[in-house]
Symmetry: D2
Subunit: 362 residues, 4 copies
């Protein structure tokens, strides 16, 4: 078992479920550290038993560590002053065989699942478990982690509410979501925000200005706008967080991009309210997973072990309605965006949410 | 619009969504107080606009009030010293017509939806919105309120954990669920409990004793057991909370039943641990709804208004997979129990959860 | 170091602080298991270093375990069919000397601190750290654990609020507090309850009935009453939780007492509202400690180590205003009750809180 | 009554307590909107009774609105293209007399209390109620709002923990505190951070780098640093949030300053870890007040009314140990900084917290 990609509340629930249900069958379970990094590098995997998974169900993060970057098919190697990539997938398969493992459970997002599929095609018995805090994987109704992030972001909208109202401010909350705006949209509806900017719907500043002023006229002299980090004004590019490349080495400092861009655009037009930006950032990734995510993670973990038992490889577990099903890994890489004409956007508009696209004549 | 049955986190989200999306269409919206009580009695309905629903999204309960008992088809009337029931449904329909309403949205559980269906059969344009904190309605994947209750119950398991562990105790947590054990089962898995007793699986005390002792032998000298209020020992009847009928008038005092019965049975066998019962009771109904429930309630409310707009009456809104659909009200009364051979019970067992039915030889 | 008495959020913060600051000084630290039980019985103490206290700051309970009953001065010994008590304090002192310990830090309540004082009088270098979830120790302004319990109880009042209001109910919440009503009083004020019953103020039912009816007349047809478990009606004895002695062996099942007594008294008089009792019980002891309690526990732990360093024995740490001071252990046993004529009761009355003592003519 | 300065959790608890205890005495209470703005401008004050304060105890912000800028002694007036300030204090006093008010209760921070003192010196019967989320007022042990902010910031540290650990990152959390570092210090201790940078202790980057590396060597390859917004490197000025003045009109967009400066300094030296900054910002001001803050706010409000009743003007209420006392308003303006040689900093060091001043040879 390994966990790859960004950390996510519920990962430990999956790990615990895999260990409990596999060890309960009399199997041995090992965990690789830091995603595929720990598989490629000769790091001995950690034996996992009941003691190792005790008390982790309500802990965020992953006890196995994770890595965003280690891809065995394009593994970085230093070549003089620069880096080259090489395919070390055969090595990985060889190593796992030599260690005597019967299967590898890969818990991770898009990237991790594609690697898993690649290894499966080469004959490795792999089961995937999807993870994405952005909820943008198309082959599962939802993944663990999203509910916790949504809950945190919704609570943040509520926190801004009291300050915004007391001070007659326009407050922007930037949340994760580079290509998909699910988190922003859900938090905006559940938190009762007044506008939401998402990557799927390029926005103009005019409808936002109009919304702020109409609210003020109706006695609500404050507004709250949720901004996905990938949201961009019509005709503009998504704003790269500015200092992303400004610092040397691996050390990279990021502060909000899209929220600030929107705020600057608003500040050019609105002078009767103070405008403030808050970047939720990593706060949405952390913390205790919600009951929903602990349950979903636990179900994914149990089902993954059943797939191993039944020899159903090159598949991942997925939530379909109320059931956990097996879906071919080859499907996993499709991204699910917010449907700009779908139910949730339509409901959002009915609830009074502005998307910034309500141009004259719409 | 009216809300009937027990209160439930998310009701206000539905009310707000109905008002926002209906008023946004230029409609007028009125709310009846205290469920069907306010319809039968000549209480003037309250006009609901944006101001009335401001700030209620994150509030538990229902601003309209609710009633468990007012059924227009069997409405109580005092007859000398006793009460008789009479059918006042025609009066209700007549009153609503006279008031000029085009539709009635009924938000409630099993009972409320059956009444709604009865009224619809008599020609009233009714749309239903299902609500059950026990999650035991068969025609919607889930309803709002359940996630909040699950979250509260899961947190309670966690709170007991630290005390149980520090004191080497067996602690029982009684949660709602008279006929269906969904809440107990979900909270037991998400909270990492050691046993769960549900109405669908009659229990014996022996497997519980064995579990407690095996854990103690393995160094875990404490155990946590979640008990649904409708759980009963094999061959026993569900325990009526004892003082349910002991006090005069309408005033009824309830304290835990099923949890205490299980604790007494355990105390006859286990003397090496202290045993404690906690009854979660009404704490699970109250409090701020989770983001999940606010979102689901909002979606239900928006969709209910769309059904009114489309003239789809005698139906209720329901969650099916990722979509909100319309389901005939005639279906609504079926109860969904925990499937004793289903996925979640199977996963529970794999995670080490004892159900009290693991007799010798199973 | 050892922890005695009931478990309490913040104990692990103390343990962590003692270990971090002592190990940082180059000392060795050991923990006895299960309070004085682990000292009297020949259980080897556990060496505690940075690794042992990692990640425990936000965990409730105590990693050392605790015991309510093990008193070296009156240690139980089986004598045929019955138990006798014997003084094993000399043994304890001898054992600690033989193990080469320079000091013993005792974290616990009233009972534990008295034992600590007894051992100190016999020459053992002891430092105490007060702990009481009831906040009834007279020589410290407050102890850790109380803020967490207050926070949990206050939240519970809020949860009942929505249900009470939706259903026009009178809801009683029973919280800990056998001799002192601090927790009930604080939670009632912070939660906005309508009445509070505490051991220090014997109550009559008449003022409660009047309060419920006056509220109903003013359009608030629900009421919330917080009841300390030691509250008793005027002239009545505190209600022993009924089944306290009903079950054999050590296994004891407790359900609410005082809340039920009050509810029964109310139900004799009030028939126009449903009445419900909720017993918060152990839920108030558990869970993640608040930031306040983590901070206070950490300060207590650091200061306790400073007292050891400075050779200030037979003292305990205590919060006085904004400072942590050293107080002689001989003082520790005094109980601080709620002052029935004090500031908080006076403020409570000003805020509209009924105490049940507002008889005619008061 | 009025509320001035930044909003703060607990303000509504004060307002509710003032109304409840004053109306209970048979007095009439009125609230001015938006701080002194509503007093200078001819805005009619709002009559406040039980209905107006119902349900606000657990709401953040202030139902009266607030203003940072309206000072009657230096009230802005447009003069052609620019602004001049004029003294309108006599007008204010005259207006209040004409309205027939017997006293003015001013709830606010440093600035508001100085204005209150100025008005009192001119003969207005004023009572103050101190409010500062930074906890930097010297004449009260603590004020409401701080505990909520500390709780939010502590939770944020915990959320970053899981991400930091899973990804081997150095994570910085910037919290409020321009001149005083109380919030950063408390959150760092209660959250178990590894370093804290506060305005009172200018920092160097070298000790931070050393801490990060020593932790990595000891197997903890992540670190969490809490940064007060007024923290500055040795010899450097506090970083003004960069775009503070960059946008036109009143619209001002702020993003973190001090956190980013520290991160940039670290990124120059540390390339083996990713570095991330999160700015907690307004999230710490908002949300439901903790039980502690609701209680303290309620006590302040009750006591303020008692001061009015007793004719004790030109004083403010203040917490001293366990009691609420009256303190002359002339004292109120002193700022309490973190004592760099005080108990809490000393304890922080003992707990392993780095302050960035541990230069060679210290």
């Amino acid at each position: 078992m390994l966990t790859g990609g960004g950390d996510c509340p519920g990962l430990n629930a999956v790990i615990r479920a895999v260990v409990k249900s596999a060890v309960g069958r009399g199997w041995e379970v090992f965990g690789f550290e830091d995603g595929f990094f720990g598989v490629v590098e000769p790091i001995p995997p950690i034996p996992l038993g009941f003691d190792e998974v005790r008390g982790i169900l309500d802990r965020g993060g992953t006890i196995l560590g994770t890595s965003n970057k280690a891809n065995p098919f394009r593994y970085p190697r230093r070549n003089g002053d620069s880096w080259v990539e090489e395919d070390r997938s055969d090595e990985v398969i060889e190593r796992l065989r030599r260690l005597g493992f019967d299967a590898l459970i890969c818990i991770g997002g898009d990237g991790t699942l594609q690697i898993a599929h690649g290894l499966a095609k080469k004959g490795l018995p792999v089961v995937g478990c999807p993870k994405t805090i952005d909820n943008d994987l198309s082959d599962t109704d939802v993944t663990f982690g999203f509910d916790t992030a949504r809950s945190t972001a919704t609570e943040a909208v509520g926190r801004l509410h009291t300050t915004a109202e007391s001070h007659d401010r326009v407050m922007l909350l930037e949340v994760m979501g580079r290509t998909a705006g699910h988190l922003a949209l859900h938090a905006a509806i559940a938190g009762g925000a007044n506008a939401v900017l998402i990557p799927e719907i390029p926005y103009e500043v005019e409808p936002l200005v109009r919304m702020v002023r109409e609210r003020a006229k109706a006695g609500q002299s404050f507004s709250i706008i949720v901004v996905a980090e990938g949201a961009a004004p019509k005709g503009g590019a998504p704003s790269v967080a500015e200092s992303e490349t400004a610092t040397p080495g691996r050390g990279v400092v990021r502060l909000g991009g899209a929220g600030r861009v929107a705020a600057d655009l608003l500040a050019e037009r609105i002078t009767e309210h103070e405008i403030r930006v808050t970047v939720l950032g990593h706060l949405a990734r952390g913390g205790t997973p919600t009951a929903y995510d602990r349950l979903l993670g636990s179900r994914f973990g149990c089902r993954a072990v059943e797939l191993v038992e039944d020899g159903v490889f090159d598949h991942m577990v997925a939530l379909k309605g109320s059931e956990i099903e097996a879906v071919p890994l080859s499907h996993a890489s499709k991204t699910r965006l917010v449907d700009a004409d779908g139910e949730l956007v339509r409901f959002g508009r009915q609830l009074g949410l502005t998307f910034g696209d309500e141009a004259e004549g719409r």
